[in-house]
C-alpha cells in the first residue's frame, strides 16, 4: 500500500533523506524511529506530496507521489505534528470542510461527519469553535478531520507529541482500530514504548538513512542489546561516539 523506493531528498548541500526503501502493507503498522533531524518528517512529507523527492520514488496504493499527487492525497490521512486547526471554525464545520475538499457532498458528507462525530465522541463540543477546545478535544477533531474520507493509508507524524497519557491513549486506540480495519499505517516517533506497543515493524532512520528494519524482537536480536532503547542507541549513535573507555 505504502512504498518508498530509493527515495532521496536534499536541501542544497544538506541530505535529509537518502536512498530510503520500505513498504507498509494493508493492516500493518510501521513505526519510523529516529533522532531529531534523522529525516522522518521529510520522508513523511514526501509521501504526503508536500515535498518533492530529489531522487527515487514513493507511492500510495500504486499512485506515484510526483506524477499523481491528487490521487495520493485522496488515499491518505495525514496528521502533522503541529495538529493545527482553524480556530474560527467549529469542530463540525472543520470536519465538513475537509470532507468537501475530499470530494464528499450532500447527505453522504453529513452522514460521514456524523459517523466521525460519534466515533471520536465529539458530539458535546461539535458546535464549539476549535480555538476554544482543550488539547485532547483538538486531537480528536484532528483525527476525525484526517479520517473523514476513510482513506486506506494513514501517515502520522509524531502523533502523540505534546499529549498527556490519556490523550495518547486515544491515539493508540485509534491506531489499533484502524489496523483492524485493514489500513496501512506509517507513523514517526521518538517514543520506544509507543513502538513496542503498536508497531508490527520498525524502521530506524539515522542521518537520513534507513539503518535497520524489522520487528522489535528482530532489532533487539540484531544489536544484541537488552532493550529496544539500547538497540536504538546502538543503531543511531555513530561507532565509537558513545563507547565506554
Amino acid at each position: 500500500m505504502i512504498r518508498f523506493d530509493g527515495l532521496g531528498k536534499t536541501y542544497g548541500a544538506l541530505v535529509a533523506v537518502r536512498d530510503l526503501t520500505l513498504e507498509v502493507r494493508p493492516g500493518e503498522v510501521y513505526a519510523l524511529l529516529g533522532p531529531n533531524g534523522a529525516g522522518k518528517t521529510t520522508a513523511l512529507r514526501c509521501l504526503a506530496t508536500l515535498l518533492s523527492p530529489t531522487s527515487g520514488f514513493a507511492s500510495v496504493g500504486g499512485a506515484d507521489v510526483v506524477d499523481e499527487p491528487l490521487q495520493v492525497r485522496a488515499r491518505i490521512a495525514f496528521l502533522a505534528a503541529s495538529m493545527g486547526l482553524y480556530e474560527r471554525l467549529t469542530a463540525r464545520e472543520l470536519i465538513q470542510y475537509f470532507g468537501r475538499l475530499q470530494g464528499l457532498e450532500g447527505s453522504g458528507l453529513e452522514e460521514r461527519v456524523d459517523e466521525m462525530v460519534a466515533l471520536f465522541e465529539i458530539g458535546d463540543f461539535s458546535a464549539r469553535l476549535c480555538g476554544r477546545l482543550s488539547t485532547g478535544q483538538r486531537q480528536r477533531v484532528s483525527l476525525a478531520r484526517a479520517l473523514v474520507h476513510d482513506p486506506p493509508a494513514l501517515i502520522l507524524d509524531e502523533p502523540t507529541l505534546g499529549l498527556d497519557v490519556l490523550s495518547g491513549r486515544t491515539i493508540y486506540d485509534f491506531i489499533e482500530r484502524e489496523r483492524s480495519r485493514g489500513k496501512a499505517i506509517l507513523f514517526s516517533t521518538h517514543q520506544m514504548e509507543e513502538v513496542e506497543l503498536l508497531a508490527d515493524r520498525v524502521g530506524v532512520l539515522a542521518e537520513g538513512r534507513l539503518v535497520a528494519e524489522g520487528t522489535v524482537p528482530e532489532l533487539i536480536a540484531l544489536t544484541g542489546a537488552p532493550s529496544l532503547t539500547r538497540a536504538f542507541l546502538d543503531l543511531v549513535v555513530p561507532v565509537g561516539a558513545g563507547a565506554a573507555p
Partner: protein, 675 residues
Amino acid sequence: MTAWRTVFAKELRETLRDRRTLVMMIAVPVLLYPVILIASEQLLLFGMRQLEAEAAAVALTGDVSGLLYEVVGTREGLRLVPIGQDAVEAVRSDSVSAVAIVTATPGSADAASVRIVYDAASDPSLRGRRELRAAVDEWADSVLARRIGAQGLPTDFARPVHVADTSVALPQEVGGYTLGRILPLLLVVITLLGAFYPAIDLAAGEKERGTLETLMTAPVPARAIVTGKFVTVALIAVVAAALNLGSMLLTFQTGLLQLTTALGLEVRLPWSAVAVIFLTLIPLAILFGALFLGIAVRSSSFKEAQNALTPVYMLVLIPAMLPIFPGIDFGPMLSVVPVAGVSLLFRDLMIGEARWGLATLVIGSTMLYAAGALAFAAASFGNERVLFGGGSGSTDDGTGWRARLREAAGSGRVPSPEAAMLFVAGVAVLFFWAGVALQLRLGERGLLAAEWLLLFVPALLFVRLGGFDPVATMQLRAPSRRALGGALLLIVGATPVAWGIGWIQTFFLPIPWEVLEGLEDLVTADSPGRLAWLLFLLAVTPALCEEVVFRGVLLGGTRSLTPWRFVVLNGLVFGAFHLSFETAIRFLPTAWLGMVIAWAVWRTRSLWTGVLMHVLNNGAIVVLASVPALRTAFMDPDAPPPFWLVPVALLGLTAGYRLVSSVPKTSTPSTSGVA
C-alpha cells in the same frame, strides 16, 4: 461545490468571525470616519470662532497720522494697544499680534510707507496682520479719496477697471475637483488596507497556526486553494473600500455641509462618477489581493508578513499620491503605471473629465498586473521552499530569511542573497544622504570621498566583519586574456545600446535642460590635466568602488539564484542606485550596462572584467565630452546615435558574448557554509 468555492466559503466564514477584520472593514468606515471628520470640522470651526471672538491686539508706531489712529481704533476686530518696547519684541512676547511701523515720506503731507511686523508661525498674529493690513489699506483708500476729491476728479479715477470672476463650474464639479485631489489616495489606501490583514491571515497566519500543511494534503490543486483565498481577500477589500467610500462621501455631503457653508462654497458630490469609481476599485482590489497573498505566504508568521508587506504599502503610496500634485497630466504612459493609473482615473472621474480610452488602458493593465500577481501567488503556494522554508524538515526549523541572514553573516563563505541585498540597501541609503551632502559641500572632492568612503570601505568591512571569503565573494581572480578581450568587445557593443535606450527614453521622459548642462560640465575637461583628473574621478574610481559593491558583494551573494535572475537583479539594483531626483532617465541605460557587466563577471569569474568594462564605459563618456571634435559629433542630446553604431553594437555584443562564453569554467565557490 468546486474546490475553490469550498475554500472561498470557508475563508469567508472564518474571516467574518475575525474581530480584527470586522473592525477594519465595518467599524472603521461606518463609525470612525464620520466621527473623525465631524470632530475635525467642529474643532476647525471652534478654532476659527475662537480666533474671531476676540479683537486682535495691534499697535502703531512711527509717524502715525490721526486718520490712521482713527481707522484702526474704530475697526471691528482690532484693539489698539500702546507698546513701550521694540516692535519685534512686542510681537515675540505676544503683547500684541502685529505692529504697523509708519514712516512718513519726506516732503509729503499724507504719504507714508508702512511695515507690518508679525509672527508667521502664530495663528493669532497672522490674523492680526490680516486685520491690520485691511485697516492700513482702508486708511490708504481714504488718503487717496481725499486727494482725488481735492483735485475734483471722479471717485473711480484711480480704479478705472473693475474685475470680477465668474466660475462656470457646477457645484458638483467643484465638489469633484476638491475631492478629486484627496479621494484617490484615500481610496487606494483603504482598498489596500482592506486586503492587507485578510491576506496576511489567510497566508502567513495559516502557516503560523500549522494548518497550511494539513490543507495542502487535501486532494485539491494549489491553484484552487489560492483562488479561493484570493477571491476572499479581493472581496473583502472591495467591500471595505465600498463601505469606506460610501461612508466618507456621506460624511462629506452632510457632515461638512456646515463648513462649506461657512466658507461660502457650494459643493455637491458627483454621485454618478462615484458608481464608476466603485467599479474601477475591483481590479485594484484584485491586484492587491493577489500581490499581498503571494508575498504573505512567503513569510512564516503574521508579524513577518506585516514586515514584508509594509514596504509594499509605502511604495504604493507614491503613485497613489499623484493626483494631489497639480499639473500631473494623465496620459497613456501614466495609465499603465500600477496604482498611478487607477488613482489618476479616480481624479478624472471626479472632475468629469475621464477618457474611456485611458480608462480601458488603466483597467486592462491593472487586470494584467493582477493576473501576474495571481500567478506569483499560485507559484508561491505550490513551492515547497516557501511552504516549509526548504530546511531540515521541521515546520519551525528557523529557516526563514532572518535565520538564513544570521547564518550567512556568521558562517558562509559568501553572503546570502538577503545579506547582500541588505548591505547594498544600507550603502545606497548612506550614499543618498551622506554622499549627496559631501558632493554639495566639497564638489568633486566630495564625490571622490563618497565613492571611496561610502562604497569601497563599507564593502571591504562587510566582507571582513561578516567573515566571508574575500576571493570567493568578490571573485578576485585574474582574468584570462580571452575574458578581457571578450569583456572589451562586450562593452564596445553595450555602450551604444545604452545610448540608444537613453535616446528612445527622451521621447517619453524629457531631460531637464539644467540637468543636462550640469552633467556635461561635470564630464567635460578643458586641459590634459583636467582630463586625467576626470578619468580618475569618473572612470577609475567608480569602476573600483561600485564594482566591489555590485559585482562584488551583490553578485557574490546572489549567485545561488538562477543566472538570469541574479543578472537582472544586479542590473536593476545598479540602475536604481544611479537614480536621483533629477536623473530618472539614467535608470534603464545603467540597468542595461549593469546586467551586461554582471553577466560578464559571473561568466569570467573575475571582478576585474567588470572593472575594465566600467572604466571603458565611463572613460569613453569623459573623452567624448572633452575632445571638441568628438563632442560635436556625439554629444547632441537631441540627435539619435549614429547609424553606423548599430553594426558596431551588434558585432561587439555577438563577438563579446561568444568570446566570454568560451572562457573555460572553473569550480564555482559554494554559496553556503554547509558544503
